[in-house]
């Protein structure tokens, strides 16, 4: 008996650690091949001259920081493209995000107020969340057809006498940006409302009650109780929206038919990246833009994690 048993004891252990590695292996393998390696490659080629000219490939040829320098070199018109597109992205994000957060916050407070006791909430939430799931490119195409010079909105406005001939929404900087912002607003305010509602609902109900009994008015309760306690979730939602805004692509790309019209005032950072990746396959310049995007996202992400961490304590 003894000889067999001691052999067995040496042979293996009942530690399950290896199963942990086996279970997470596919994830990390796929991540390494399809995300991590491409990421490294992206950064690598940002230091190379490497693109397609017609059917011939130019490069790869190491050029140091030349791509980055090119990014920051003013064009013939005297603008630095990447700054212009970053500005466009920020402006259009702000135009959508400000109403998005103001209205979402108001709706979240209304929906959770026991005094107002809003009926039909589940239908309302269903309706306002719906645009979030709609294909952004199809939604944009719908906007394009509806707002085009021969579209129904123009004909409605003309028949109502608001304007006397069709207005081209897509060739005016203000209306173009407004439409992009409106679409983004429509797609995201329902989502934000639901997140903020959950945030308010996670606040201990008795805090509101005791504040009311202490004589605080509705606005006072909002500023003294709701907002401070909602802050971590609000910031989290806000920054993730910023990260999303930085990736703005589908809507302006479809609305402007890839041109960023008029005069590239609706061109975003990712559209810029897409232009280099599309036909010319300029991995050098695309890489440099990606690195800039990566750094901007990383900075915002760090802020997100800071807020989550604080939330935990």
């Amino acid at each position: 008996m003894k000889s067999t048993t001691t052999k067995e004891a040496k042979a293996k252990s009942i530690s399950y650690a290896k199963w942990g590695y086996i279970f997470i292996l596919p994830f990390f393998l796929v991540y390494a091949v399809f995300t991590f390696y491409p990421q490294i490659l992206t950064i690598y080629y940002s230091f190379f001259k490497y693109f397609r000219d017609g059917l011939t490939w130019i490069g790869p040829e190491f050029i140091g920081f030349d791509n980055y320098k090119a990014l920051l070199t003013p064009t013939a018109e005297g603008t630095i493209d990447i700054l212009k597109y970053f500005g466009n992205t920020v402006i259009m994000w702000v135009m959508g995000a400000v109403p998005q957060f103001v209205i979402a916050l108001a709706l979240a407070v209304f929906f959770t107020s026991t005094r107002l006791n809003i009926k039909g909430q589940s239908i309302m939430k269903t309706v306002i969340y719906m645009p979030n799931l709609i294909m952004a490119s199809a939604f944009s195409m719908l906007f394009f057809t509806l707002f085009s010079t021969v579209g129904p909105i123009n004909s409605l406005f003309v028949s109502m006498g608001i304007i006397d001939k069709a207005f081209d929404f897509f060739f005016c900087t203000i209306s173009m940006r407004t439409l992009v912002a409106l679409l983004n607003f429509l797609m995201w305010f329902g989502n934000t409302t639901i997140l903020l509602m959950a945030g308010i609902q996670s606040i201990d109900e008795s805090l509101f009650e005791s504040a009311r009994l202490d004589g605080a008015s509705g606005l006072r309760v909002f500023f003294n109780i709701t907002m401070p306690l909602l802050k971590p979730i609000f910031i989290y939602t806000f920054i993730t929206s910023m990260i999303g805004g930085l990736q703005m692509f589908d809507v302006p790309n479809i609305l402007s038919n890839r041109t960023g019209q008029p005069n590239r005032t609706s061109e975003t950072m990712v559209m810029y990246l897409n232009n280099y990746l599309g036909v010319s396959k300029n991995f050098g310049m695309a890489g440099a833009i990606s690195v800039v995007l990566f750094i901007l996202t990383a900075v915002l992400s760090v802020i997100v994690f800071k807020t989550i961490d604080r939330d935990k304590d």
């Binding site: 399950y16 650690a17 199963w19 942990g20 590695y21 086996i22 279970f23 997470i24 596919p26 994830f27 796929v30 995300t35 491409p38 490294i40 490659l41 992206t42 709706l107 005094r115 107002l116 809003i118 589940s122 939430k125 269903t126 309706v127 306002i128 969340y129 719906m130 799931l133 294909m135 952004a136 490119s137 199809a138 939604f139 195409m141 719908l142 394009f144 021969v150 129904p152 004909s155 329902g190 639901i194 997140l195 979730i233 989290y236 990260i243 990736q247 692509f249 589908d250 790309n253 990712v270 897409n274 990746l277 396959k281 991995f283 890489g287 990606s290 992400s301 994690f305 989550i308 961490d309």
Partner: protein, 286 residues
Amino acid sequence: MNSKNKAAAVKLLILRIFVYAVIIFLCALCLFFFIMLFVNSSRTNSQLQRGFTLIPGGHFFYNLNNAVHDSSINIPRGMLNSLIVAGLSSALTTYFSALTAYGIYVYNFKLKKLAYTFIIAVMMIPSQVSAAGFVKIALELDLDNKLWVLIIPSIAAPAVFFYMHQYLKATMPLEIVEAARIDGSGEFATFNRIVLPIMKPAIAVQMIFSFVASWNNYFLPAILLTKPGKKTVPVMIAQLRSADYSKFDMGKVYMFILLAILPVIVVYFILSKSIIKGVTSGSVKG
């Protein structure tokens, strides 16, 4: 006393009317564009040129027939491609995210903490920033116009992993796993036969979200899928925009858009309750 009560009641009533008005306006705004889409997809091109109306034109199936048989945009093919990509992606995403989350939640191993921290750290990085390298590899290996290149990467989805991990932490006592071990169940069998059924609600929610995300995905497919037979729906929609739309049958265009978004809308209205619940449960609950 009575008048004070009355004044307060009137004030509350006015506030409520205002709030309802705001909400109903926003709901109407959300619905307006889709109602326009429905209406216009049932009108012929000549009807459409007569201008704005909210009365359906009665030519829904005429437009449907035209759209389905269009010579340049093969929308049935596109929908099939999208269905393949989105269906397989969502299945892989949820299964492997659950597997990874389970591996990190249940087992103790040296790199556990590191693995977890890594996934959380890269969670916010958008796929666009590694797209250049991805496209480069795809071209080099002749993988453009292959649907599976868009499917396989979904095995590693950090955000879905995070959701699954949170779900496991909240609902899965480790004793269940131990009970299964003592019952003689192997580690994979325990995951597939005990844990997956327990995670069903989380898997359902994430499956819907990842299906929708994949169905709507435009950036990378637009770069990689250039052959007509390989295009997915969003790529075809973009193609519609770049065509000279003034020559287009607008009834057909509206029908294309409707077909692109209808599957998601139908699923949404069937499952809206659990989808909306899923929006919040995956977010910040450190």
